[in-house]
């Protein structure tokens, strides 16, 4: 494969494109609503209308507004049809010739779409994820070629450092710094791992990226491998995402066929292969040391750091582990330059962040916004607020490791530091909106049950602590607990947080701590009066906490 051949593929792909491209969402959400049947019927309707020469029907990745799928849209600019069924197909085709279809539509000019800034999702819903040519037609793999032919590995790392990109898996570690460490680590054999074990319940950004644009992950991994000197990559994907897995397998096969993966890529001395590893349903495997154990075919239990994976990772070799969304940012940064990327976002958090907006909100789906966008813009302007005339009570970010941000803090800008200050975390990007019908103690119990089930059992604070905390939350919810129990719960939170081995245990108390911080009254309302002796002193006065149901 050479530059010329890459351009030829692009040109022939663009030349073959018909005047009107009818895009059908083929991501998991719409697929479960018979998107496949819709696409088939549309193809038939095109033939019936004799428009084969003008119109083509293309299956694309996530078109973002998941709550009203299946979605169909025609290029160039035409209405976005929602809740499409196979029966609607003839009407959609008829509308292409001028008429107006009396079908459910969403406004592509609504804030849900116009407030988005797409880097990671730029190709999502636009290209066919099952064809590498479709990716090449939007300049896919041009960044890899550019990196291999114009840059030294050191240059590539410098670009990533200057871009200010931080890990999108949750902790926000500077990506360039991590790459530099792996590159500097001595060792003939190095690995790169894509963490696609999107375990947080309520998060589906990585699934959408993998389903919609699998090649951008392969390209990001190849650039990373070139930069750090690795020749073997692994993608560790969840078994719960069968569609993402099959599209990745297909993408790897296509890239190998074209010589974009394998030996002597783009006629350079660079060799790189990617293998897919399928998880088997263990949340802890999202933690990097546990993930590596799982890639090696072992029980996914974490081990203490240091040594960090960058020094001693897979099979004791230096290993670079990056999240899906982090890797999806790489090709655009290399293509457009570090300055372009660092102009987006805030001072410390550069670029965009993809959020999976779900829960009690009108517009559920996928959004990508510049870092620093206020929460209110996301949940109210873009998300449309809570349905059924209810009010938003809290927004949960960061999954079981995160916290609940109460409605009075909705003007907080979304960046790593601001969310941490509020006792939550950026996390991987799940954003669950809760309305006034949600009881926060029950939410805390829900997450604690999750952590209890998912604790791998290696270290005692997490294994036993989560069980005890869950027990105490059950007791509070059953109205059988006293203030003494609440104090015990807070004590346990502190202990589990500070003494657990890995991130799972260290962050397991977060949902309790954050709901106690902002919704303490909901806990206290459930307590029995103390019977023996005076109640123990608590850290915060309940008077500070505003009544949650009157928020906003």
């Amino acid at each position: 494969m050479t530059l010329l051949e890459l351009q030829q593929i692009k040109e022939s792909e663009l030349a073959a494109r018909k005047k009107i491209v009818l895009r059908c969402c083929m991501a998991a959400g719409c697929m479960s609503l018979d998107a496949k049947g819709v696409k088939k019927r549309l193809e038939k309707a095109v033939e019936e209308a004799g428009l084969q020469d003008e119109v083509e029907v293309v299956g694309v990745g996530c078109m973002k507004l998941c709550c009203v799928g299946p979605l169909v849209q025609a290029d160039p600019d035409s209405p976005l049809y929602t809740n499409v069924t196979a029966e609607n197909a003839p009407a959609i085709i008829a509308a292409l010739k001028g008429g107006k279809a009396k079908l459910e539509q969403a406004d592509p000019q609504s804030p849900f779409f116009t407030q988005q800034k797409s880097i990671v999702l730029a190709n999502s819903g636009r290209i066919d994820p099952e064809r590498i040519e479709s990716y090449i037609a939007v300049d896919g793999y041009a960044a890899l070629l550019h990196a291999l032919t114009e840059h030294t590995p050191k240059d590539v790392i410098e670009v990533i450092v200057n871009s200010g990109l931080r890990g999108r898996g949750g902790a926000g570690f500077p990506t360039g710094l991590k790459w530099g460490t792996v590159a500097k680590s001595p060792g003939a054999k190095k690995y790169i791992v894509c963490n696609a074990d999107e375990g947080d319940p309520g998060a589906f950004m990585d699934r959408s990226v993998l389903e919609s644009d699998p090649h951008c992950i392969l390209e990001g991994m190849a650039i990373a491998a070139y930069a750090v000197g690795a020749d073997q990559g692994f993608i560790y994907a969840r078994a719960e995402y069968p569609l993402a897995i099959s599209r990745l397998q297909n993408a790897i096969k296509q890239a190998k066929r074209l010589g974009i993966l394998g030996s002597g890529i783009f006629d350079s001395p660079f060799n790189f292969n990617i293998d897919l590893r399928i998880g088997a349903g263990a949340f802890v495997c999202g933690e990097e040391t546990a993930l590596m154990a799982s890639v090696e075919g072992k029980r996914g239990t974490p081990h203490p750091r240091p040594p960090f994976p960058a020094e001693k990772g897979l099979w004791d070799c230096p290993t670079l582990i990056n999240n899906v969304e982090t890797l999806a940012n790489i090709a655009p940064i290399v293509r457009h330059g570090a300055a372009w990327f660092s102009n987006i976002g805030t001072e410390k958090s550069k670029g965009t962040k993809v959020f999976a907006l779900a829960g009690k909100i009108q517009n559920t789906g996928l959004i990508e916004v510049p870092m620093g966008t206020p929460l209110r813009t996301i949940v109210e302007t873009m998300g449309g607020g809570a349905p059924d005339g209810r009010t938003i009570k809290a927004v949960q970010t960061g999954g079981p490791s995160g916290g609940c941000i109460p409605a009075q803090y909705l003007d907080t800008p979304v960046d790593y530091e601001s969310l941490t200050t509020l006792g939550s975390i950026m996390g991987s990007g799940g954003m669950i909106v809760m309305d006034d019908s949600t009881h926060m103690v029950d939410v805390a119990r829900f997450f604690m049950e999750f952590c209890m089930d998912e604790s791998c059992g290696k270290c005692i604070p997490c294994r036993a602590g989560t069980v005890q905390m869950h027990h105490l939350l059950e007791k509070i919810l059953a109205r059988k607990a006293t203030p003494r129990d609440l104090a015990k719960l807070e004590e346990l939170c502190d202990m589990v947080k500070n003494t657990s081995l890995c991130g799972l245990g260290q962050t397991a108390p977060n949902p309790v701590v954050s709901t106690l911080r902002f919704f303490r009254n909901e806990y206290e309302e459930l307590l029995l009066p103390e019977t023996n002796g005076p109640p123990p002193a608590t850290h915060n006065g309940s008077s500070k906490t505003p009544a949650a149901t009157t928020a906003i």
């Binding site: 349903g281 949340f283 072992k298």
Partner: protein, 164 residues
């Protein structure tokens, strides 16, 4: 030296398919999870003989294979019912009432989450999150993701499979 093949492996064609798969991955120890996926796909669940066979082929201690098979939620060591119903209990589904759906199915089919009905017709399972949060609450009936479920719609489906 090889031990002798586990007894049941000789006659069952599925073991041949599994062996071919193990060979394809060059008997690598790190392919263990992949092999267990394949074995479960072929046999429906991981019975003792299958685990022994995988251990023997990969030359791994049986304890290691058993340890991995029991660590991951995806693997089951018990036979599954004729149909499966997986209720997603991720956060988005939870705030939209997945618990009520689960409770309704549990009550109707007389089975607890993780169990199989006495007549082996239905296995009721829960998932941490299937990533279908945009169409919550979601339930997976026999591998088909079904959006926006209610206790009523779930029972309608379950009634086709189980008579209380």
């Amino acid at each position: 030296m090889h031990q002798s093949t586990p007894a049941s492996a000789a006659s069952d064609k599925r073991f041949k398919i599994l062996e071919a798969h193990i060979k394809k991955f060059q008997y690598r120890h790190d392919s263990l999870i992949e092999m267990l996926h394949k074995a479960q796909e072929l046999f429906g669940y991981l019975e003792d003989d299958v685990l022994r066979y995988v251990a023997w082929q990969l030359k791994l201690p049986e304890s290691r294979v058993y340890g991995v098979a029991t660590f991951y939620h995806f693997f089951t060591l018990k036979p599954q019912g004729a149909h499966t119903c997986v209720v997603c209990t991720g956060t988005a589904c939870y705030v939209k009432g997945a618990n009520k759906i689960l409770a309704a199915v549990e009550e109707h089919a007389h089975v607890k989450a993780g169990g199989t009905t006495a007549d082996n017709q239905l296995s009721l399972l829960t998932a941490r999150c299937i990533g279908a949060c945009g169409i919550a609450p979601a339930v997976v009936y026999d591998n088909t993701v079904t959006p926006r479920q209610t206790p009523e719609s779930a029972l309608e489906q379950i009634r086709k499979w189980v008579t209380p």
